[in-house]
Amino acid sequence: MQIVQQILFVLLAAAAVILFARKVREIRRNIKLGKDTRINDNPSARWRNVLLLAFGQKKMFKRMTPAILHFFVYAGFVIINIEILEIILDGIFGTHRLFAPYLGGLYNVLIGCFEILAALVLISCAIFLVRRNVLKLKRLNQGELDGWPKTDANAILATEIILMGLLLTMNAADYNLQQIGSHHYYNTGSSFWVSGLLAPLFSGMSETSLVVLERSCWWLHIAGIFAFLNYLPYSKHLHIVLAFPNAYFAKLVPQGKMENMKDIQNEVLYMMEPDKAPADAASAEPHRFGAKEVTDLSWKNLMDAYSCTECGRCTAVCPANITGKKLSPRKIMMDTRDRVEEMGRNIDKNKEFVDDGKSLLHDYITTEELRACTTCNACVEACPVSIDPLSIILQLRRNLVMEESNAPQEWNMMFGNIENNMAPWKFSPDDRDKWAQELAEG
């Protein structure tokens, strides 16, 4: 009987890992649909960001309540994983609490700590559910979250509550089994700091029922973990993985610095100084200015999209969104991910991308949204996982203006004024130093 359980477990674990690895490869391929850019300068500053922003969650602490609750869930997730390792090894070898004999008293303390963390995770997730569904916090209930994104968020929270519940119930059953001296159940003393409180609920049960309960919880818990692992790539929850590389590849230059377009710089240079133009400059392949499609963005832009947790801190601080404009930086990121995933499915189906008559610009992100941006960098500053929505907005704006000549009339006038009068307003360049003359005249 035991060997059947072991075989089943190994098969389940293998299936979970293989499926997950396949999905990871797919996401990697999708991210690489973006343009290649090298981001490898200054590794020490980059590792610092990984430590501070990802491990330390520095930016989360701008908002204390969610920061503390999130920290419990994060710490719980990372630390309880040590126990998952034991659970997996137990599953493979058919053992029970494999580490216990080796760690002795320390094991009991660890189990106690895991239980406290599990309880904190459970409580935090419950509060998160209340914030989303009862208190209805604005940033967690805005339009772009309608439908799947809200379901996704609630599903993750509910799953975590169930998983932690299973873990604690399992321990409570285990505790009772230890009390009655059941064979196979290793005596861990009184280390069940939380489930010990639940144990009396099951104290009247027979040994067989307790074993069934304990085994059921054990199986459901680990099967739940494997299911969760495979749900991750489809979910906003993928940030638990990508927050780390995304922090590493975060922009290190001042936020105000816009990316230069070397090709246009050269075009202007060759126009002004024709002798500097290389012989083949004119025959250079025509290409697209700015971004119309996710493939015009950089791979970092696309990794940003996959890292987004849809928490809405960006949108909550966006001056355009606050004042009722259509722009929402979070939606920019969600649209980018939706589109890159759509392209990925297209490639899976047709071996290579077959034009579907759609593009990120217009079909997902509208002109009205793009034109509302004040480039204030509040969204970039707010993001806890180093996402740069402004980078995407500005690349799409370049496409609108340079490829489609799609600018509001006032902007076209401003362009004309800069070109002809060297100022965005219609003033004569001769009047530029009028203030100085006025000052001279007193």
């Binding site: 202007v268 200015f289 404009k325 004040t374 509040a378 530029r432 203030w435 100085a436």
Partner: protein
């Protein structure tokens, strides 16, 4: 007071300590001209040798670049860099955070490398060096003042303390808005919004920001950017508070405290 141009310095075979890059708003906008004049007066009074480019100055291309017109930006940048490098400019001070940002962060890649400083940082340095000495019991001593962080000085370039230090040197009572420093709310002008109507929404951004500034009970809203100044002044007028509340650039406040 005569303000010399770079051409005049060149003719004399001299170099000023610093080039004062006035910017388009500072040159043409009537409200911003007052900021320009105030800053020029400060420089003149404390004896900083400075020049302007006068009629030769051109838009840096910031609104063109932010709205998506990279061609126009590159044209402007090329011409400006030719001009600045031609004069051998080393150090630039400007009262416009947008010009500051583009010189500091974006011109270097195009061959325009200068030591660029925003006027509030420059004033703060002059105070620290003892070159600017404020009047005892100056015009703003003890007055309740709130400071609006511009996006292009604040988040874009992480300059939050120098402007506040200047205000402190004037012995003001600084009251912060709820959204300040890294969390500061935009005035609504950036990203070339200054040059177009708002997209459809339920409020103007400058009104949202002005309401927050007025809620502090400050009698002066201190700014560091000609565009913010315009936006906030419009907001104060919209709220019919222009009798009680002034919107002033830090340079104007310093000029009145000398």
């Amino acid at each position: 007071m005569h303000i010399k141009t770079m051409a005049e310095f060149m003719a004399e075979g001299a170099q000023p300590e610093v080039l004062f890059w006035v910017g388009c708003a500072g040159s043409f906008d009537q409200r911003a001209q007052r900021i320009t004049k105030a800053f020029a007066q400060i420089l003149d009074k404390v004896g900083v040798s400075f020049a302007i480019l006068g009629k030769e100055e051109m838009c840096t291309g910031d609104p063109a670049r932010r709205s998506g017109n990279e061609f126009l930006f590159q044209m402007m940048a090329y011409n400006n860099i030719q001009l600045l490098n031609g004069y051998g400019i080393k150090k630039i001070v400007t009262a416009c955070p947008h010009c500051f940002n583009i010189f500091k962060n974006e011109y270097p890649a195009l061959g325009g490398e200068y030591d660029v400083i925003h006027h509030t940082t420059f004033i703060n340095q002059l105070i620290a060096e003892g070159r600017i000495v404020m009047k005892e019991g100056g015009a703003f001593k003890g007055k309740k003042i709130t400071y609006h962080d511009s996006c292009y000085l604040g988040r874009a370039n992480n300059i939050y303390e120098a402007p506040r230090a200047v205000l402190e040197a004037m012995d003001v009572e600084l009251v912060e808005m709820k959204r300040c420093k890294t969390n500061g709310l935009c005035c609504g002008a950036g990203g070339a919004q200054m040059f177009k109507e708002d997209e459809p929404g339920n409020k103007r951004i400058n009104i949202e920001r002005t309401e927050e500034a007025l809620a502090t009970g400050a009698t002066v809203i201190a700014a560091n950017c000609p565009f913010c100044t315009t936006m906030l002044m419009d907001g104060v007028k919209n709220k019919e508070q222009e009798e009680q509340v002034q919107v002033l650039d830090i340079a104007e406040m310093v000029a009145r405290s000398l």
